[in-house]
Symmetry: C2
Subunit: 121 residues, 2 copies
DNA sequence: TTCCTTATTAGTAATGATTACTATTATCAT
DNA sequence: ATGATAATAGTAATCATTACTAATAAGGAA
């Protein structure tokens, strides 16, 4: 695997923000530094970065995937009001699948609802 | 909301199987009873059934959404070997978001890994 | 440093799930 | 039975993601 300025820029961007971005949002952001970067390059590098466990993906009920440079185990909360995605700590117990002899490599916890601000309205 | 044979057939199908199906799989299955049902009809009814809390949707890292007629709270395990989706009980504690004043309307727990059978290989 | 191999890229086309649109049909309250 | 209108079939459009290919650039060897 070669170190390219494209991959570096994508990873730097995700690491610099404690937020969650779609491929298109990442594309737009990185284009400010590398104006002719291709969207395909963004997708390919995101896939590689996930494989290398440098970033994680967040699947919500949205039609697109979000990417997160913060890789420590945590849960996500998707606000159905403002659409914001919040991080929450994840309390890990002995999971049911591992008790059943399944190998758990990853787990995703996503809450849906209203954040404190939207809940008040 | 009117009761149509299309919506009834979709709901009956999902309820009759303890499994998870994509919109296309549901379309194919229901077409055996209603040969000229439209895929758009399937999607529209699935959306309505979710709104009425008659079914739930399962978002995985797959590009398509799966639908589940079993609505009691439970977790899903996606096997990266055989691609099967398994159900697991979900132990609910006081969630972190609710402690923070967020209104949790839904929560999704998805594990990724290898099921017992694939793990042995 | 220069050269060579080959991974990576830019640009574009293709795919595939989902949504939108519209004329027609069927549900159900009256 | 009938009329208002919600729902449908069929098709076209959208949009995220993937595939493809000729050109480029990373990095090891000379």
């Amino acid at each position: 695997m070669r170190v390219t300025k494209q991959r570096t820029a994508i990873l730097d961007f995700l690491r610099s923000k404690r937020h969650h971005y779609s491929a298109t949002q990442i594309y737009d952001a990185v284009r400010e530094k590398i104006p002719n970067i291709s969207l395909g390059t963004v997708y390919r590098n995101l896939a590689q970065l996930i494989e290398d466990k440098e970033i994680i993906s967040v699947e919500t009920s949205d039609k697109c995937v979000y990417y997160d440079g913060f890789t420590a185990d945590h849960a996500h909360f998707v606000c159905e009001g403002c659409k914001e995605i919040f991080d929450f700590p994840l309390i890990l117990e002995d999971s049911e699948p591992s008790k059943a002899g399944f190998l758990v490599e990853n787990q995703r916890v996503v809450y849906y609802g209203l954040c404190a601000k939207c809940n008040k309205k």
